[in-house]
Symmetry: C2
Subunit: 732 residues, 2 copies
């Protein structure tokens, strides 16, 4: 270790890549652009004032750098977090105002850390396999390194060489060594934690002119390129920019990706990091935004907190940087406007200028039907978002057939979620976590997150024999992914995606096809859902609908458990569900209508008299009140092969202020299965007297295959894997 | 009956008070003002366009006037409702455009009703004691009469005398006779239904020049003035304008009050109806607005649907009329702006013009601490709203010690509710009703409304022996009211209200004092709650807190009922509560912290080791899913005399987008009762090391009485019924 320190010292002193500073967050030329922008009123100036005000409160004060003690939400955690943001902001103020009081504030704090950090052992509250030192987990230490590295770079020219050395050796080196030696395996992961760690070490490398740090950050500790930042760019995104952990985590990871890439781009433009893999970082941002609800909330599949929206700091930073490196993109203006602030950078200045002159900015981001592949090579399933309606009338149906998504993935193969008019209709629970609240398990993921939220029953997909997909084992789930059979989102009238999973259960094949149909005489699109289960053995198949809303009506009688309530099951998430009511279905059509905000939703299902129905409520076995008391509607079938055909209808309007309720009843009148075998699944749906025929080929899904069936005595023929015929008119 | 008809005919023909028309909704002069306003862009013009568009869709079409059949939400109900709005709007369009197609539409519809109405018997879905004919309840028929009367007046000059006669005899007379003969007792009530009925009959009287109708409307069917519109103005409001049914129903009743008063004012200005009882109708509007949350939602005590806000049509109409008759009131502009439309009247035109020229309009209505008396003479208790904070930071503590409030009253003597930052923190459930949704009991009040929502346990006040106040009997409750002992809202640092109820239980006196204290070193006000129970016999006292939010922490261990849940009780509302957890408290301080949106709330309670605590959840015995699954925290004490001392603390901040949680722990460290006897109740509250002494006289509450007590070895003396001393400083 001693020898290693000397080596670093040599590197620093010879200054192998002596560099102009600042360079990490912005360059001298960028600073000039921001200063010029600040001469005008507008978002840049208000953002500047907010930052300046937050820093000015601390000028001349002795800012505490406490001995680390508390978990998230506790004093020392929140103080160290506030400190790195303060240093970063004060560094920016120094560059933008030239006032040395800002540089002095950063210097004093960094010198305190230079004294503290060499004394630190693992944090007393550390519980994870990647413990931190300043914080309970190394991830937060990596955040600290990113921001203090940027702050150091901002005041580089203010510091004397001795001060630089003191800070580099005392504040940074213990953290860098800790990451790259003690936590080497963690640092070398392909995972959002590693992205943060590489960004921290790399930015510090650039800020302190330390090429060794930079090389480890780019290529991994053994410099072989199998890990490190570039390997993470290559490994965590699919070719079309889908981030394997899902939308909530792309929001989080995009910040270190963009901050470090931006520093690299300033310092080594020849690396063309933003152009890597056909601009994959640009695709990551845009695709992340496409995976948000009308309010900007990221879709909550996999571990996710629903409160997070695209006004969060990470997306503000990424948007500003993207604007600078990829050029102006007016499709981002609605996002920038809702963010209502910009970063104090060249990108931020140009976004603000554009917003100031834009004639009108749309209220909502422009969402479109879109599909992503998953996996670095794009061959590990994917996710499709079927969409109809514009503006506030948007309907989004999400169909997820991705790979597991690393440690934050859920056991939810072939899951669906439905959003309508900005409301969650069929929800994904997200994660059970109160981020930053110490009393709630130190702000960490709560046990209920793995035990309930990640389990299959918490989703809108089939659970076989009350056992989660892959038996709830991440290491197995991580090895497999469903396969898309066919899809079409080019035609607004008939959007369809079909996928199959043969690995979630060893002896059951799951095959689900989702259709979003825009019928000519309907205002809202109709969701048709075919779910085939194939097995040679007898099983129980549960298809939950995690509806959000108020029960309005059911077509069936049920038994409500009114005086005494027990759980639906005992394990794999079932232990968290109170059984509120149950029913035996009858042959034919079963309907359940609920109200969510100002619209009615009806789930119409094809059932037989062996089908059971359940209304459940979350909250059993939750002594710490960690879960929301959300409802679900579960359709249970038994058998070897089984088929669920469900239709989700959006209908009517409810306006309480004007006391108007229209079309509160569904229009679906019957569902009949005309054919259901190895070759075809065909359903006929009667809607307000008219017939809708929905048909798919199960085996021969070739795009040019011709199919001809005799159904109800008439001949039906079509080309390709599917067709939908409404009122004798082909929808295509 | 025959003779009676002839009499009416005579009245009409002799046209005893032949009148210029239009006069009911507006006059010729008013119409000129509106027309002039329409020459400019702005809210009047957009409101006009909306109305015109809604009417133009029907021009030239044969509008259905179906035989009445369905309850609310069903076709015939919604159609007749749409028809009277259509006739009214089309009448306005005729006046404002002069285009006779609008008059023709009204005439054709009125003639259809003239054919239909004489054939009608009681509505087939009628279930109430005041059945309707066109609708299931007479109240809706009264709505119909109000709007069709206004519509008739608008096209009066377009109609031939014969047409007028046909409509008056066929469309109006059967309804008027039905109200004033068949439903005479109902028509003569002092109640919002009667207000609507009088407004309907009175407006039709004005529109058809029928003085007899008008007289009955003003003075009751026997013309003795004990009932009728004027008696309702005198009987339903307290002298300061509090409406006895509460804020949700003043919203509803204000429309017929204002519409009919406006017509009267146009037709008989000498009556000075708007000046009656020192402008009580103006006070009713302003006080109704003061009883709203930041989002405009009316406080939900008594029967109330939380979705109703001051953007509802009733308040739009009342605001426009108030503007005309009482003059411009810029304090109403924030309400008008949120309403985002105005009525097509002189008042509406002036409001729109004012909004167009106003430099800036505050985001929120200006709320202030305020108290109202209840009862026509102002001597039947009242309600106080203790308030602190401005704009989005408003905290409102509502203390209700009113009389019952007629048929929509709840059994909630000495109830409190807390709103903070626009969020409901300690809620009133409101009513269980899905207005207008046919599948939900025809849109009527659901049985759970009486059985749960109106019961005492659904509130934030003490339930003795699991029995509701007045044993849940409206006719008994209606006879009594609590008495206010003392209050002060003049001092922002110490707002206080004390009231006593001796009638809710035959052998227990309830005495509650609420304090809203603004401590000098606190951001948010502190609620201190003294609740004394006085009885010579042993009782069980339950004090529920209907908190809304997520359980964050408790100072006590509890047993959670994780696998099997039963109800807290079997009757008086208790049967709807699942017992989620229970605990035995210990001597001293008991604390419960919850999170609601971005703030923490802690209820700190003085308990002893005989105190029991419960966490409950609504939903038991609710087979039709009519109730929300809301939580409660219940403190149960037993004894003869008992005292609850609770402190509700608002603390900290939780910002999920920035992942910041500050001050998540309460600052209250101890609660000690220093004296608790017939003369005094004194508590000492330790807050972050400092002491707060809160003291009240129980007996001698004279404003000038001097009190001197020896407490903790020191002498404390003060003048008046109460004092609060913080950190050795008197708060007053």
């Amino acid at each position: 270790m001693k020898q290693y320190s000397i080596l670093v010292l040599v590197f620093l002193q010879t200054a192998l890549f002596a560099q102009q500073h600042p360079v990490a967050y912005f360059t001298k030329a960028d600073v000039a652009v921001v200063k010029n922008g600040l001469t005008k009123e507008g978002l840049l100036k208000t953002s500047f004032k907010d930052v300046k005000q937050s820093v000015d409160r601390w000028i001349g004060k002795d800012v505490d750098v406490p001995m680390p003690k508390n978990p998230a939400g506790g004093y020392t955690h929140e103080k160290h977090k506030a400190n790195y943001i303060l240093m970063f902001n004060s560094g920016l103020m120094y560059q933008l105002t030239g006032d040395t009081k800002y540089a002095l504030l950063v210097k004093n704090l960094l010198l305190k850390y230079a004294a503290l950090n060499p004394t630190l052992q693992n944090h007393p509250q550390a519980t994870s396999t990647s413990p931190g030192r300043i914080f309970w987990q190394a991830l937060n230490d990596a955040n600290w390194l990113v921001y203090t590295g940027l702050a150091f770079d901002c005041i580089y020219n203010y510091l004397t060489p001795i001060e630089r050395q003191l800070i580099a050796d005392g504040a940074f080196k213990p953290e860098v060594d800790f990451f790259t030696v003690n936590l080497k395996d963690w640092f070398n992961l392909i995972h959002n934690h590693a992205v943060w760690a590489c960004a921290g070490v790399g930015i510090v490398g650039i800020a302190t002119d330390n090429k060794q740090y930079l090389n480890m950050a780019l290529h991994g500790t053994s410099l072989d390129g199998k890990s490190g930042f570039l390997a993470n760019i290559d490994g965590l995104f699919s070719p079309d920019g889908y981030y394997t952990e899902g939308p909530y985590y792309v929001r989080y990871a995009i910040l270190p990706f963009y901050l470090f890439a931006n520093a690299l781009n300033n310092q080594q433009p020849s690396l063309k990091v933003f152009q890597r893999r056909n601009n994959v970082l640009q695709k990551a941002l845009v695709n992340g935004l496409q995976q948000t609800n009308l309010n900007g909330g990221f879709y909550s599949y996999n571990d996710a907190l629903k409160e997070k929206t695209f006004v969060s700091n990470e997306i503000v930073e990424a948007l500003s940087i993207a604007w600078k490196v990829y050029g102006a993109d007016i499709s981002l203006l609605p996002v920038a406007k809702q963010q209502n602030r910009v970063t104090l950078s060249k990108g931020g200045a140009t976004v603000a200028a554009m917003l100031a002159t834009a004639k009108s900015v749309a209220k909502f981001y422009t969402y479109k039907p879109i599909s992503f592949t998953d996996g670095a090579k794009g061959n590990e399933g994917g996710v499709s978002i079927l969409r109809a309606g514009i503006g506030a009338q948007l309907t989004s149906l999400i169909y997820k057939y991705t790979s597991h998504g690393l440690s934050h993935g859920h056991f939810d193969k072939l899951n669906i979620n439905l959003y309508d008019g900005g409301n969650e209709i069929l929800q994904d629970y997200g994660a059970a976590r109160f981020i930053g609240i110490e009393q709630k398990y130190g702000g960490r993921y709560l046990p209920e997150s793995k035990n309930y939220a990640a389990q299959t029953i918490a989703h809108n997909t089939v659970v076989v024999d009350e056992t989660s997909h892959f038996n709830g084992k991440e290491e197995v789930s991580q090895m497999y992914h469903p396969e898309k059979l066919f899809s079409n989102s080019a035609n607004q009238k008939i959007q369809v995606v079909s996928a199959i999973d043969e690995k979630a259960y060893s002896n059951v094949t799951l095959h689900r096809t989702l259709w979003l149909l825009q019928l000519p005489d309907a205002e809202k699109p109709l969701t048709v859902d075919f779910f085939r289960l194939l097995s040679s053995k007898q099983h129980q198949y549960d298809l939950p609908f995690q509806y959000l809303g108020t029960v309005i009506n059911t077509s069936f009688k049920y038994q409500a458990f009114t005086n005494n309530q027990t759980t639906l099951g005992t394990k794999n998430g079932y232990q968290f569900l109170w059984k509120e009511a149950s029913a035996k279905a009858s042959n034919g059509l079963t309907q359940f209508t609920f109200l969510n905000n100002s619209a009615y939703y009806t789930i119409s299902s094809y059932t037989d008299d062996s089908t059971n129905l359940y209304f459940t409520r979350l909250g059993a076995n939750d002594p710490n009140f960690n879960l929301r008391r959300d409802p679900a509607y579960i359709i249970r079938k038994k058998g070897t092969n089984q088929t669920f055909v469900n239709v989700v209808e959006i209908h009517g309007k409810y306006d309480t202020n004007n006391e108007v309720s229209v079309s509160a009843y569904p229009k679906i009148e019957a569902i009949t299965i005309l054919r259901d075998d190895a070759d075809y699944l065909v359903a006929q749906i009667k809607i307000n007297g008219k017939l809708l025929l929905v048909a798919q080929a199960n085996k021969n899904v070739a795009i040019n295959a011709a199919h001809a069936l005799k159904l109800n005595g008439s001949n039906v023929h079509w080309i390709g894997p599917y067709t939908a015929i409404y009122n004798n008119q082909n929808l295509q």
